[in-house]
């Protein structure tokens, strides 16, 4: 019989049950790895971060109150892991440089986009890291503004304005007119 997430969480917290935690990883690894891959722009780094994320999640599982959704809480841990890693590592900056991500320092950086990047990567590259995280949570993970607010520890109003600003950036950088894309 398939257990609900909260039942598995309870098992892990009560008995340090690694098998139950393994089941939670199997269920949510795709979303966490996808989120981190889009955020970091590097598959290997993202998978390393995903592993760290699950290890942190195991240690902090007792702090999950069960009020919000478990995937939401997990993405919060993933986002925190990403930010901590970014602070620690210079590798992130090197990867972004390699991808031609100089959005803020060079203004409209994608007037000459790197041809190796796919459409989504080009689009994400015009956004700063906070905007990227919020946009991925909103459009890739289908999170509500409230869920994003809980995951990023930012007020709902800030989330809304970040999404609005991101969409404006995308519109202007890719010359997309209102209600029209392509």
């Amino acid at each position: 019989m398939a257990h609900e997430d909260h039942e598995l969480v309870a098992k892990v917290v009560a008995n340090n049950d690694t098998a139950a935690f393994g089941e939670l990883i199997r269920r949510h690894q795709s979303q966490v790895r996808n989120f981190l891959r889009k955020l970091a722009g590097d598959t290997t780094l993202a998978d390393d971060l995903a592993q760290d994320c699950f290890l942190h999640a195991f240690n902090k599982l007792s702090t999950y109150s069960g009020r919000g959704s478990f995937p939401g809480w997990l993405l919060k841990v993933a986002y925190t892991t990403f930010l901590q890693s970014k602070r620690r590592s210079k590798r992130y900056a090197e990867i972004l440089d390699a991808a031609g991500h100089m959005a803020d320092s060079q203004g409209k950086s994608y007037t000459h986009p790197n041809e190796d990047l796919n459409d989504l990567e080009k689009l994400l590259a015009v956004l700063d890291e906070q905007e990227r995280a919020v946009m991925i949570m909103s459009y890739s993970c289908g999170f509500s503004h409230r869920e994003i607010s809980e995951a990023t520890a930012m007020p709902v109003g800030t989330i809304k304005s970040l999404i609005h600003r991101s969409k404006e950036k995308i519109r202007s950088d890719f010359a997309i007119k209102d209600h029209q894309h392509g």
Partner: protein, 119 residues
């Protein structure tokens, strides 16, 4: 009422929203042994945590045993040289190195056993 309107506005999607959703849509990532790898690392860390304290106690005891015996021997000599105290202290009260080491090992094994029982 106002919050209901705001919530509704949250859900309304224009063409750009739909286009972004299509662009951001995630293809599922195959597990390919990822979950097994993470649980293996996790189990290894749990075992390392279990063993760390008893091991530290054992190593600490081994390192501290000799100086502790010397210190106790000196203290014993000092006490023996003091008139009045010597008669009240037995000469062989200082434990041997063997006893100290055995105590350390016993403590380490005990801590390890407690950790295992706790798990």
């Amino acid at each position: 009422m106002q919050s209901k309107i705001i919530n509704m506005a949250d859900r309304l999607k224009d063409e750009q929203d739909l286009a972004l959703e299509a662009l951001f849509r995630m293809q599922p990532v195959a597990d390919d042994g990822f979950s097994k790898q993470v649980t293996t690392v996790l189990r290894r860390r749990i075992w390392a945590r279990r063993i760390a304290l008893p091991f530290a106690v054992f190593v600490g005891s081994a390192i501290a045993a000799k100086p502790a015996v010397v210190l106790l021997g000196r203290a014993n000599e000092l006490l023996a040289s003091m008139p009045g105290v010597a008669s009240s202290w037995p000469v062989d009260w200082v434990p041997s190195t063997y006893t100290l080491l055995a105590g350390g090992v016993l403590l380490a094994v005990g801590l390890f056993g407690l950790n295992v029982l706790e798990e």
